[in-house]
Symmetry: C2
Subunit: 315 residues, 2 copies
Amino acid sequence: MASLKVPTNVPLPEEDAEQLHKAFAGWGTNEKLIISILAHRTSAQRSLIRSAYAATYNEDLLKALDKELSSDFERVVMLWTLDPAERDAFLAKESTKMFTKNNWVLVEIACTRSPLDLFKVKQAYQARYKKSLEEDVAQHTSGDLRKLLLPLVSTFRYEGDEVNMRLARSEAKLLHEKVSEKAYSDDDIIRILTTRSKAQLGATLNQYNNEYGNAINKNLKEDSDNEYLKLLRAAITCLTYPEKHFEKVLRLAINKMGTDEWALTRVVTRTEVDMERIKEEYQRRNSIPLHHAVAKDTSGDYEDMLVALLGHGDV
Amino acid sequence: MASLKVPTNVPLPEEDAEQLHKAFAGWGTNEKLIISILAHRTSAQRSLIRSAYAATYNEDLLKALDKELSSDFERVVMLWTLDPAERDAFLAKESTKMFTKNNWVLVEIACTRSPLDLFKVKQAYQARYKKSLEEDVAQHTSGDLRKLLLPLVSTFRYEGDEVNMRLARSEAKLLHEKVSEKAYSDDDIIRILTTRSKAQLGATLNQYNNEYGNAINKNLKEDSDNEYLKLLRAAITCLTYPEKHFEKVLRLAINKMGTDEWALTRVVTRTEVDMERIKEEYQRRNSIPLHHAVAKDTSGDYEDMLVALLGHGDV
């Protein structure tokens, strides 16, 4: 359920490229024109615009945007214009760098994308950085964090809907035993969460909830400052209830003193995937529509671009 | 460097399918005809023959072969006729089953195939078994064996040739420290072997050899009955010198009391990949051409099929 609004009659990629080139020309930049085009095209359409732009003007559209725009508005336009796999590869790379390390983002990419999309992220990562995502994640982590994060980004999960109820019962029991012993980084907890299909995990965690009276994430909460436990809970939420995870990221990004523009921008690129669900979840939890909350907390072209991506701009 | 011999004028897939159907007809089966066709077609050609056979006779060629053939000959024809990714998926599944468990084969598939080929094996595995290779490997192993095998089958390695020499030196040093401490299942040993590209690993292990006077596998040999150490050495050989690994598998399969037909058959399916190198390595180590050794140790149609696949039959 995407929020993206695309006009009924989409101009040719060459026409869009020409308009964008005009928006960059002369003194000043026509940000409104940029928003009116890029915020209302699908990733396939944006990719064609990039090709047309490169063919006509002999320059990568991203390079041109980089020259013309700045600050938060630049970031959202650039991130959005990237192909989804390239965007995730970029976000993942940022997340393994020493000064921008963000394990939360790695969990998000590994667990909310489909298995095939995650594989495409790895291909894009290798094409751009000449290394594997796995080796960078492994090198920048250690101990329990590595034990959890590395298999999360490595496994090619099965994507089918089949569920083995016998297995769900036995693994729910196993999870409950380990959690009761507070053996949170036990091999079997990590094995189950990092290798089972999302459908199978869903069945196992439902079984856990039914049998033991609590969602597993409730039982993993005791020591709230433990980074490993936080990531474990985030992984579980991302795998089974992604819009709940994104709602939380947005809530923390918007509500705290000073907006976390990185997080806000990142989540808004979900507009082509599951933004409608995220908006519902946000409204339910915060009693205010997401685009109002975003508009209150941001301004100018950045605000306009975000609101457009949330499906509330003019097409 | 493949050993496969394909005739200059390959018949149409429909003609091959018709000949195979004739080979199955009436009393008895014409094994020579089957060999003369299937042992001399590439995987792409065999796949077209399968499609043509299914379209004309409304039956999967593999099912027909299964009905007509038996024992070792059946096994080699069936394994060979499968698409390479399907074949590896089948071999991997056999290797995770309780009674046919074979971690050696899992290491071989994970480490001698290219990263993209390994990914195709995982896709074929999921299509056929409705589960991921990772979850089956994880479920059937534990402790140090899982710690090594699971990332070996999980990681999508970088395939490029770029080598970082500074990294090679620092990781050679790290490996040497851990090996000297006999910390063979140390996180960093496993991290380096399971996540680095083959080119990078090659540089690191050369550096190790130059700096410390011994190949790493020499230093990993002390306790020869340790299954983990055996697999660790096999992984290193498969990643850096695959023909040496396959030579050893063949030598053990042929030389011991009673031939290990499973292993022999499995290695001979490398004929489309690197069989010429394996043959050179075998000749060098055993002072007898591989096809002579195989012919001495096998008989009948099974022998004829193997020898044909080794590039010594009539086309």
